[in-house]
């Protein structure tokens, strides 16, 4: 069971950071809704509050990890320029996509959108975490602040969904691969 170094880093970017960030939203939304509706929810204990703060900080780290690993580790491999005369574009995902009219849109729309909109997620979730940690239970008295924060949280989710969705399709049609092969397990044959 082998995987190339670039494929491993791409998996870390997409699944280790991006997918975990998206998964974390389900838990965060329930807790954030709870903090915003104190009249209908049980109050937070100090321990629960600390847990939520840590959970949000973890989400912030995941979001920044996703965009930074994407932009500075995976993207350079994606946009690598092949030497003149190269006919096998398997190691040059961007060039492989734009070489055919049936796949060029995955780059010109998918990647071009993903590479910018993805940054909305860490910016928005950093703000969400900051406000929730700073205000804590006080937030229940700031209706418009918490509405804005929840809306920006939703925007972070949508931005991550767009980036993650296109990332999955881009890696399906033109996978980032190359570098040393890493053997994860020996086969039984």
């Amino acid at each position: 069971m082998q995987i190339s170094f670039r494929a491993l880093i791409t998996a870390l970017h997409g699944m280790g950071f991006g997918a975990l960030f998206l998964l974390a939203f389900s838990g965060a939304l329930i807790e954030l809704f709870r903090i915003c509706t104190p009249e209908r929810s049980s109050p937070f204990s100090i321990r629960e509050r600390k847990f939520l703060n840590g959970y949000l900080i973890a989400m912030v780290l995941l979001a920044w990890g996703a965009v930074l690993s994407g932009a500075y580790l995976v993207y350079p491999w994606y946009r690598a320029v092949p030497p003149l005369g190269t006919t096998d574009l398997a190691g040059y995902p961007q060039r492989l996509l734009i070489s055919s009219p049936t796949t060029s849109g995955w780059h010109s729309v998918g990647m071009e959108w993903k590479e910018h909109v993805a940054w909305f997620a860490p910016i928005a979730i950093t703000m969400v975490a900051y406000v929730f940690i700073k205000y804590g239970s006080e937030l229940s008295r700031h209706r418009q602040v918490r509405n804005a924060v929840l809306a920006f949280g939703a925007a972070a989710f949508i931005a991550a969904l767009i980036a993650g969705g296109f990332g999955a399709f881009l890696n399906k049609y033109a996978p980032v691969q190359g570098g040393p092969e890493i053997t994860l397990m020996k086969g039984t044959q």
């Binding site: 965009v67 932009a71 500075y72 993207y75 350079p76 946009r79 010109s108 729309v109 071009e112 959108w113 590479e115 910018h116 909109v117 940054w119 909305f120 910016i123 928005a124 950093t126 703000m127 900051y130 406000v131 700073k134 205000y135 006080e138 008295r141 700031h142 209706r143 418009q144 602040v145 509405n147 804005a148 924060v149 809306a151 920006f152 925007a155 931005a159």
Partner: protein, 122 residues
């Protein structure tokens, strides 16, 4: 925004908490500005070749490195400035939310390549 202070309507006046809303307002508005800045820099880098070249802060990543770095600097700088101005104040959060969402919405639209291309006349 100074003129907006203490002009809150009845709904907002009921939000007179222990902690002023200024710090949250600064964070919300700057997040909107930051998202818009990333999209605007990306669009400008695409529309103006000289700017696209300027945004190459890290060659392997290309213009995306400068676009996002500049967007983040704009976000953090606006957060710092607004936070210093508003941290001890109660501001008109309703109006600030609207402005923040306009920035966020404009940023989202501008980041979508078909719209960006349309604005460039492509």
């Amino acid at each position: 925004m100074n003129s907006d202070r203490q002009e809150n309507g009845p709904a907002e006046m009921s939000e007179e908490p222990g902690i002023p809303n200024g710090a949250a307002a600064a964070a919300i508005l700057s997040a909107g500005i930051g998202c818009f800045a990333v999209s605007l820099c990306g669009w400008l880098g695409d529309a103006v070749p000289a700017l696209g070249h300027f945004f190459i802060f890290y060659r392997p990543t290309g213009p995306l490195s400068g676009v996002t770095t500049t967007g983040i600097i704009v976000w953090l700088l606006s957060w710092f400035v607004l936070s210093r101005a508003w941290r001890a104040e109660n501001v008109a959060i309703g109006k600030i939310n609207v402005i923040a969402f306009l920035f966020l919405g404009a940023g989202l639209l501008l980041s979508f390549p078909p719209i960006g291309d349309l604005l460039q006349g492509k």
